[in-house]
């Protein structure tokens, strides 16, 4: 890649220049939630590791989750998980060749957005 001379061709404009649209916003949010879920996963490993270590270590991890910062990460991770899972299923349908036309893609995008918020609320009530 790096050694290929691409000359002085103009670069295409990047996302900050486009008007937010239902076709591309969910796409970049999928990537952001995917990267963001790293935090939740690391926290989960810490939680399990603490539980395997003993009651005192677990109390520390449990205390962190009960702080406002811990709760914020939990809520953010819950929503990111719901969104990334639902939108991931949407992508899998596309990969299989279904629902890629504009009308269906827009409808499923809204379904994913609303669904992720509803699902997060449900998880929060259950937990």
């Amino acid at each position: 890649m790096a050694d290929v001379n691409r000359g002085d061709r103009p670069l295409s404009p990047h996302i900050e220049i486009y008007k937010p649209q239902i076709t591309w916003v969910p796409s970049i949010v999928h990537r952001v939630t995917g990267v963001g879920l790293t935090v939740g996963l690391v926290l989960l490993v810490w939680w399990f590791f603490a539980a395997a270590t003993g009651p005192e270590a677990f109390a520390t991890a449990d205390w962190f989750l009960s702080t406002w910062f811990g709760q914020l990460i939990l809520l953010g991770s819950a929503w990111a998980l719901c969104y990334h899972t639902l939108n991931g299923i949407r992508h899998l349908f596309w990969d299989a060749g279904y629902g890629f036309d504009l009308a269906n893609a827009s409808a499923s995008a809204w379904a994913v957005i609303i669904g992720s918020v509803v699902l997060t609320g449900l998880l929060w009530v259950v937990a």
């Binding site: 995917g34 989960l44 899998l92």
Partner: protein, 126 residues
């Protein structure tokens, strides 16, 4: 500066040296994560906030422990795959790209192993 012709570059699959394998592997881990996530959440959410004894009790069940182990393992595989694509898309400088790819694989492997080990120890009786 490469002296390869454009045709040669295409036939040699460019600098990636591979085609659709990575994309396909990502789909497989995605599909696996859908049922694993649902199965993982039930015991996890009931144990979360229930204290040490509740967590031990939840993962004393071999089924819950196995689901949790697979959930962690496949998640870190999927994370490694996803972060790799992000690095490939945004990091163009060769040295930093190589270092980030290296760290990505290493850290995902390490954290995944730590999670799997922790759940196994928790389940077998700490």
């Amino acid at each position: 500066m490469s002296i390869k012709t454009p045709m040669n570059r295409v036939l040699g699959l460019g600098s990636a040296k591979s085609g659709t394998e990575h994309w396909w592997a990502q789909r497989i881990s995605s599909v696996a994560l859908v049922p694993l996530t649902i199965l993982f959440l039930f015991p996890f959410l009931s144990a979360l906030g229930g204290g040490y004894e509740a967590v031990r009790a939840a993962y004393a069940s071999p089924f819950n422990a196995l689901v949790a182990i697979l959930f962690i393992a496949v998640n870190f595989l999927h994370l490694q795959q996803g972060l790799q694509v992000v690095i490939e898309d945004y990091v163009h400088e060769k040295r930093s790209r190589t270092v980030m790819m290296f760290c990505n694989t290493l850290l995902c492997g390490l954290l995944g192993a730590a999670g799997v080990f922790a759940i196994a120890k928790l389940s077998f009786g700490a």
